[in-house]
């Protein structure tokens, strides 16, 4: 009994002590800085505004780096820019293919572009297959609306870019995520990189892409892919980490090889999280494919940019609605 009472007393003392300490610490830490404000007049000017000569020549560094990468030969064979341009051309043919299906048709083999009724119908069937008649109705009518709207061709260019960029970004993101989970050192490099990529404003993706890929429709697609990749990588890491130790062990005891483990146990078990990643990728792609019109991506975004610059609010809004409808369709 007595020991209980004394321990309460000690607790009370410690409590008041901590109370004081809690107020003292901020005062000690913040006080000197408040003092600077008071003695402001008597301080030398360089303490108040850093002189221009102190500014780091950051711009020059960047310019030098870009110059090096685009002009200097690596291994005396090709420049970095050659590599990136080659990659850029690699994305060209799926883009052309999608556009062929949706817009221009394939004249060589005598296939006409898909009529809007067909696209709307396919969207409806797919929606029905995935989640029943509600989604079917939604997807079908969104596409039909876009068609009746008079922006069919532009919408299909945007759609085709997303239909190429989203799967590529999704697969690359998945791959990067898997590598990060399997290979610790890679994750340590990747994580800060993903942080930077996700906090960069949309527009800053355009600059390096414009330099190394050029200004074109495919550059827009590549900027879109780069932009949509980080959330997929992150959610892949999260999803794979979330697979229960016991489920993994069940895979081991069934005699899975590492490859079977990954594709038959871990990836399928992480599916719900991965699907959120896919959803993110599609949304990011749509957001970016519009902005990418600044570096030559064609489609609705280009038109939107054009209307906004000439202050045609009505038409711009119209396009905005079309983009939203495409987003709704793809999201479903």
């Amino acid at each position: 009994m007595s020991s209980a009472a004394s321990s309460v007393a000690v607790g009370g003392d410690a409590g008041t002590h901590r109370e004081v300490a809690r107020w003292r610490a901020p005062a000690v830490v913040l006080g000197p800085f408040a003092l600077i404000l008071l003695v402001r007049e008597s301080l030398p000017p360089w303490l108040l505004t850093p002189p221009a000569s102190w500014t780091l020549p950051f711009v020059d560094w960047i310019n030098a780096a870009v110059k090096f990468l685009s002009r200097e030969q690596l291994f005396g064979l090709f420049t970095f820019k050659d590599v990136t341009r080659a990659i850029g051309r690699g994305i060209e043919w799926p883009l052309d293919f999608m556009e062929g299906v949706l817009i221009s048709g394939f004249e060589g083999v005598g296939i006409a572009p898909a009529p809007w009724l067909m696209v709307a119908g396919l969207a409806a069937v797919w929606g029905w297959y995935l989640r029943g008649w509600r989604l079917s109705l939604l997807a079908g009518s969104c596409i039909a609306y876009v068609a009746l709207f008079g922006k069919w061709k532009l919408s299909m260019i945007t759609l085709s870019a997303v239909l190429v960029a989203a799967p590529v970004a999704g697969m690359l993101g998945l791959l990067v995520g898997i590598l990060a989970v399997k290979w610790r050192a890679f994750e340590r490099v990747l994580w800060p990189l993903l942080n930077v990529m996700q906090s960069l404003p949309h527009f800053s993706y355009l600059i390096p892409v414009a330099v190394f890929i050029g200004v074109s429709h495919r550059a827009g697609a590549i900027a879109t892919i780069l932009f949509a990749l980080p959330p997929m990588a992150r959610l892949t890491i999260l999803g794979l980490r979330g697979v229960g130790a016991e489920v993994r062990e069940a895979g081991v005891m069934a005699g899975c090889t590492p490859w079977q483990m990954l594709w038959k146990v871990e990836v399928p078990a992480a599916r719900p999280t991965l699907m959120i990643g896919v959803n993110q990728v599609i949304m990011q792609c749509l957001a970016m494919v519009v902005i990418a019109s600044f570096i030559g991506a064609k489609g609705l975004g280009h038109d939107l940019l054009f209307r906004l610059q000439s202050l045609r609010i009505g038409q711009a809004l119209e396009i905005g609605v079309a983009i939203v409808f495409i987003a709704v369709t793809l999201d479903g």
């Binding site: 016991e246 069940a250 005699g255």
Partner: protein
């Protein structure tokens, strides 16, 4: 550590995969079913990993599903099943490859007591049919007594004692084993044989019990009888007698102790 003459601790990863594929089956405490697969796909999974073709593995999976009494639920997903049913799937999966050794790692600990008992009966029924070598891990000593032929008590990764439940209780090798077995319900474990007084052929009373009976099952008969009860062996010969006092002492200690 030898399995069929092969040292498991020296096996390389590829050999281990082969051993796991063909010789081992394992049941987990939290079932560890693959959430994206139906019951039959879960059960067929170890066969799929081995590369057995779809028709053959489906047929085999259907067989073991029948064995554990889940027929009719082949197309359910794990989250649609109760805990007991999920563990039946776990058991079916572990048996699909016809393992030589069957590991069960606290398989019934996550189930409520009624279902646990039901699953223990199920386990005994399966073992009567299959006659596997089983390693069954549990924290529940009563469960161990019910299911095991031999019990190994482990502490900090080392085996303290191996033996039958009776041996562990009547002759504990270490203080830890003694502590572990202290609160065991002895009447469920001790046989009449171990408390009776030897006597041959004489005084067959009206009541008889068998030497191999567990005390729990015959206690009422013995305790309600004023006379000593005759004890019979398997051939129904009288081998001894047992009095109330023998039972009371064996279960609760000698009076005044």
């Amino acid at each position: 550590m030898l399995l069929d003459g092969q040292d498991l601790l020296r096996a390389d990863p590829r050999e281990m995969i082969e051993i796991r594929r063909h010789k081992m089956g394992m049941v987990f405490q939290h079932f560890a079913l693959l959430p994206h697969r139906t019951v039959i796909e879960n059960v067929a999974f170890p066969l799929e990993v081995q590369g057995i073709d779809k028709r053959a593995r489906r047929a085999r999976a259907a067989e073991v599903i029948d064995l554990v009494g889940l027929q009719g639920r082949e197309r359910y997903y794990p989250h649609e099943l109760s805990g007991g049913q999920q563990q039946r799937v776990g058991i079916a999966r572990s048996l699909a490859v016809e393992p030589d050794i069957w590991f069960l790692d606290e398989p019934f600990s996550a189930l409520d007591p009624l279902i646990r008992r039901e699953m223990q009966d199920e386990f005994l029924r399966l073992q009567n049919m299959l006659h596997k070598t089983i390693v069954f891990i549990t924290h529940d000593f009563d469960e161990a007594i019910r299911l095991a032929d031999r019990i190994a008590i482990m502490k900090d990764g080392l085996v303290e004692q191996v033996g039958t439940a009776q041996a562990l209780i009547s002759d504990p090798a270490t203080a830890y084993v003694a502590e572990f077995t202290q609160h065991v319900a002895r009447e469920k474990l001790l046989l009449v044989e171990s408390v009776m007084e030897r006597a041959d052929g004489t005084t067959p009373g009206q009541r008889t019990v068998r030497a191999a009976d567990r005390i729990a099952n015959v206690a009422a008969a013995i305790l309600l009888s004023d006379q000593p009860v005759a004890v019979l062996d398997a051939e129904r010969r009288v081998v001894g007698r047992v009095r109330r006092e023998n039972v009371v002492e064996a279960l609760y200690g000698r009076a005044g102790e």
